[in-house]
Amino acid sequence: MLIRTQNLTHTYSVGTPFERTAIRGVDFHAQKGEVIGLIGHTGSGKSTLIQHLNGLLPPTSGTVFFDGEDIHASKQTTKRVRFRVGLVFQYPEYQLFEETVERDIAFGPKNMGLDTGEIAARVEEAAALAGLTKELLQQSPFALSGGQKRRAAIAGVMAMRPEVLILDEPTAGLDPRGRDEIMSGIRRFHRETDATVILVTHSMEEIARTADRIVVMNDGEIAMQGTRNEVFARSAELNAMGLDVPEITRVAMRLRAMGLDLPENIFTVEQAARAILTLKGGGPNAS
């Protein structure tokens, strides 16, 4: 187990009238190379949970283990874990500050104390993974488009070569093309580094397409977890939590209710297209 939390609880603003427990007794775990989709309604505690995984928030009670070691064992441990668990916040483009994209991506590796050659190599690698061209690297981050800024910010975390990459709604507020570019960058990173990826999102389509395992949070607790088959089969429960199954799954469900003999595990448009073609007798390769 690469990351594990044990009975993790976090309370904000202890001792003021604004006191609020965001997560309660959470036992979360992630294995090496796994892609986890973390879903839950707004305020369900997703963001609080992920900020514990790299030690940014100290637990009110409970423990976070990385590679079997308590990440708050000492200040050095926490600092080391920060580099091994990369966290991309919501709207990460607001953290850009350097004069050029290249220097901004280099900020993380520089803080790790790497030498110039290694930093340059990592910047190049991260930029390629995030889909940024060489010309963009020399521009000011503030001159880029929204989607490019977002990718530059994500590259800044990828450049630390984290063993776990956590992204908090990486596609929020982007157009479809921007979303696709971000998601394919994340998949590319996962493929090439075999890092664990934890993806927080409200888009069931992205989850269905990317995640090996889905963890559902509700009111500060883990409500369910499992493969997409297991989780999306419980659509009534998901609805009760203010969540949903992917749109195409709903379409397939309706078609099934209307008497079409479609399989139950349809989560992407491609699967649906194949299933319908098979049904029509044409087979998956006929057109």
């Binding site: 904000y12 966290l87 916040f89 607001y94 953290q95 850009l96 900020f107 803080n111 975390v157 630390m160």
Partner: protein
């Protein structure tokens, strides 16, 4: 955590103190401060302390919150106390090397520290129990007469209310950017002064950029709702004096009279 800063913060509640007209509260704070600085002996100070205690009890503001607000003043309080203790001339009761501590010195030190603490607590009760918006509404109403001599009262108060409104937002933003940079290994806590100042660059640049962006957006939002200054502007919730405000005013007058009386008669 940054977001635990209490400066200028409002803690919702539903007590007599919370319900008072903001103008009454502002005037009471002025009266309280005048009385506090008029009071110059133990008896009048005790009266002031009783009054403060009564208001704290009525407002149900937690004592711990008031004390936490004092924390940034700790250094000033200590220096004030020590200077007064050592530098007040008088019959020394303890003396070593060049320092003399006299009974008068101790008395003065305690007196001044108590006075500062009470001053800060009194003003904190105002901000803790009054939403920023009613605070600025109250100020605008009180400064109304200044409009006659062409002081831009409305503009000043709207600037103030916006500043107050954005303090929590900016604190939250700072917190967020700080976390994001920390996640990239930024270190805001160690190193010498120069190093720490330099470490702030990745925090300050994004913060300024987002503050300007917010200001821009706010201006557009206000203009698109046809805001054009205070001329002819009406309020949704008008301020209204009630009986409790009159009673509070009387109490304030009585307090001031008592303290001045004690000082004059002595």
């Amino acid at each position: 955590m940054l977001r635990d800063i209490t400066l200028g913060q409002y803690f919702p509640g539903d007590t007599v103190v919370h319900r008072l007209d903001p103008r009454t509260k502002i005037c009471m704070v002025v009266v309280y401060l005048v009385a506090l600085f008029t009071a110059n002996d133990a008896v009048s100070m005790a009266i002031m302390a009783c009054f403060l205690g009564l208001v704290i009890a009525l407002s149900r503001v937690k004592l711990r919150l008031l004390l936490r607000g004092l924390r940034p003043l700790l250094i000033i309080l200590t220096i004030t106390g020590l200077l007064n203790m050592f530098l007040t001339p008088g019959e020394p009761i303890v003396s070593f090397w060049v320092f003399n501590i006299s009974a008068e010195g101790i008395y003065r030190a305690v007196f001044l520290v108590v006075r500062i603490v009470m001053m800060v607590m009194g003003t904190f009760i105002l901000t803790y129990t009054t939403p920023p918006m009613s605070l600025t509404d109250g100020l605008e109403s009180l400064m109304g007469p200044l409009k006659r001599i062409r002081v831009p009262v409305h503009e000043l108060t709207i600037i103030m209310s916006m500043a107050l409104r954005f303090i929590p937002t900016l604190i939250e933003e700072t917190d967020k950017i700080m976390s994001a940079q920390k996640a990239r290994g930024a270190d805001f806590e160690t190193g010498n002064l120069f190093k720490r100042a330099k470490a702030l660059i990745p925090l300050l640049i994004p913060l300024f950029i987002s503050a300007f962006r917010r200001a821009d957006e706010l201006a557009v939002a206000m203009e698109s709702r046809c805001y054009h200054g205070g001329e002819g502007r009406t309020r949704m919730r008008g301020l209204k004096f009630r009986r409790r405000d009159a009673l509070t005013g009387l109490t304030g007058a009585a307090l001031l009279a008592a303290v001045i009386g004690l000082v004059v008669l002595r």
